[in-house]
């Protein structure tokens, strides 16, 4: 192999119409498993639409939608064991839901309440990394911890295409390669870093080839094909658990939404481009496949939509009914033990919150 060159073949199982074009992986032979994937994709999109509407009506903070990218996140999380650790960016709601983060926790987080990060389910998962691309080193540390303890666990770190331009990404990939830690790095390449398109992010032909310099395997997968994402991630995780080291996976998807609710993508992106990408979105693809295999029908779809809408509504109610934390909470988690100087500020804040001068 010439230095810098790589196998540019793309992993995919279904075409955009949901027709089988690749080899069906083992898990995908079980209709119940595929239905579970489909259900989480639908739940994620239902959550997403609700989150945007809550933000528009002043009941949620700035929110980063995952519209169109659900399969990357859900595919990755579904390949993980519960004991693995997820180290996500801020657009991986689908993966978080699969891993047992609750809808209420997601609403709390995006509604500006730290308790949303105190996951009752995946206790060791990291909270969202908002400073883009600063979290890959954490996944290396987590994976190193697993290796040092001789545990057959792995970390999965997800970040966007923009993050691959950051130094921390390069450092982490390099360290993971040297130490052969059980970590999988997944690029959720949605084509845009706010207003900067993929072409202006890197001259590299693919982002997966950034693995070459770190001496680790890198591969591309169709990020809108949840079966393919899960299959690629399962292989990478199996390698990690066997002690064969890290993998970089580039999942190609498309951001069908604005960067966040504070963004207006029409300032920099043609609507025509978005329209062009809609037919490739991940939900319809899996639905078409399930329908062709006679594992899906209209009644089931309607029941599923009702179930997801109801789950989301209940979570919204629970979130809105949760009073904000007492002001003292902002002081109680800065350190394990409250230092004297902070204890004084805590008293001041409590008094101020009570309306005292």
């Amino acid at each position: 192999m010439t230095i810098g060159q790589r196998d540019n073949s793309m992993n995919c199982v279904l075409d955009t119409n949901g027709k089988l074009i690749g080899t069906l992986p083992e898990f995908a032979r079980d209709p119940a498993e595929l239905w579970k994937l489909y259900r989480t994709l639908v739940l994620t999109r239902t959550f997403d639409a609700k989150a945007v509407s809550l933000q528009r009506t002043g009941r949620l903070g700035t929110y980063a939608s995952s519209l169109g990218q659900e399969a990357v996140s859900v595919g990755a999380a579904s390949a993980m064991q519960p004991s693995d650790v997820f180290v996500p960016n801020f657009r991986e709601h689908g993966g978080q839901l699969w891993r047992g983060v609750t809808l209420k926790e997601l609403f709390l987080y995006w509604g500006g309440d730290e308790r949303g990060n105190d996951y009752a389910g995946p206790r060791e998962d990291f909270p969202n990394s908002v400073p883009v691309g600063s979290h890959p080193p954490h996944a290396v540390g987590v994976a190193l911890a697993f290796r040092l303890r001789g545990e057959k666990r792995a970390s999965v770190c997800v970040f966007g295409d923009g993050a691959t331009s950051k130094g921390d990404f390069a450092e982490a990939l390099n360290m993971a390669g040297v130490w052969k830690v059980p970590a999988v790095f997944l690029i959720n390449n949605n084509g845009w870093a706010i207003s900067v398109p993929r072409a202006k992010q890197s001259a590299a032909e693919t982002l997966a080839q950034k693995a070459v310099a770190a001496g680790i395997p890198g591969e591309q997968v169709d990020g809108n094909d949840v079966i393919a994402v899960r299959a690629v991630m399962e292989r990478a995780l199996a390698r990690a658990r066997q002690g064969d080291g890290p993998t970089l996976v580039e999942a190609l998807t498309y951001r069908l939404c604005d960067h966040t609710t504070s963004d207006d993508a029409s300032r920099y992106r043609d609507d025509a481009e978005v329209t062009r990408h809609w037919p490739a979105e991940p939900l319809v693809r899996l639905r078409n496949y399930l329908a062709a295999a006679e594992h899906w029908d209209k009644e089931q779809e309607e029941a599923l939509l009702r179930e997801c809408a109801s789950a989301v509504e209940q979570a919204v109610e629970a979130y809105l009914a949760t009073p904000p934390q007492a002001v003292s909470a902002n002081f109680d988690f800065v350190y394990a033990d409250l230092p004297a100087e902070l204890a004084e500020q805590r008293e001041t804040a409590i008094a101020r919150a009570r309306g005292a001068a």
Partner: protein, 326 residues
Amino acid sequence: MTELNLVQAVNAALKHAMSDDSNVLVLGEDVGIDGGVFRATDGLFKLFGEQRVIDTPLAEASIAGVSIGLAAQGFRPIAEIQFTGFAYACIDQIVNHASRLRSRTRGRLTCPMVLRSPAGGGIKAVEHHSESPEAMFGHIPGVKVVMPSSPARAYGLLLSAIRDPDPVIFLEPTRLYRAARGEVSDDGKGLPLGQCITLRSGCDATIVSWGAMIKEALEAADQLAAENIAAEVIDVASLKPLDTATILDSVGRTGRLVIVHEAPMTCGYGAEIAARVAGRAITSLLAPVERVTGYDTMMPYLRTEAHYMPTVGSILGAVRRTMAYS
């Protein structure tokens, strides 16, 4: 009791902590077989092996970042950054992640790591090797900042930093690494963080300092004694959290405060201490607060660095100025 220099005391503390707790790890550039560029980790590689004394690739930000992942998983990583001038690359990881992991997860994940780094000037080093960034780290909620001034205090404070449940920035005064020698009892006893240490009692003026400048502060106090001026010398030791009570108590008795630090004056820790004293003990003050600090310039190269450093003479001048008020 053994007589050790400061870097040997650091080494003894690391050895003790690693023997006590198998979750304690050391990582950084050249910390393994080479024992660190200052030999702070000398012998640890042989004793504890490459699983626990980890040579990293040359990537400071990730040395901090990887430590965060390890700490969240229950390890107690001690990251060495070779010189504080290179620790600035870690600030994103410290500010945005290490310091707030506990707070943003409401205690679900924590970050019990130590970031050790030699700090300070007066060592005739090449540029970027003589920085005093304690105030930068001190501005970050959620971290603790510690700077020892003697071998025994380095030993005790480092042990406490390693055992602390939160991230600690541990700045080791390079100038004292081999210059300061003293008795150290390798008994595994930590010195409490968040407490000043009064090194010398006096009733006329309070000299507050930390790190390598404690040496000059004590020398100045010696000379002042010959002039019948009794200076109290307080080693702050833990800059964050800051033990204001000890300083206020002292100033309440002396009425005069001279703060000495190597770092530039503007926004330095001296400003914080002066403000706290002004806020709570202004009626005790008999004289304006004096700050003896580095200048608001770049740390000069070695040929003129002596002109930058506060000296015994400059401390004497400041104390005498405060004594002119009565």
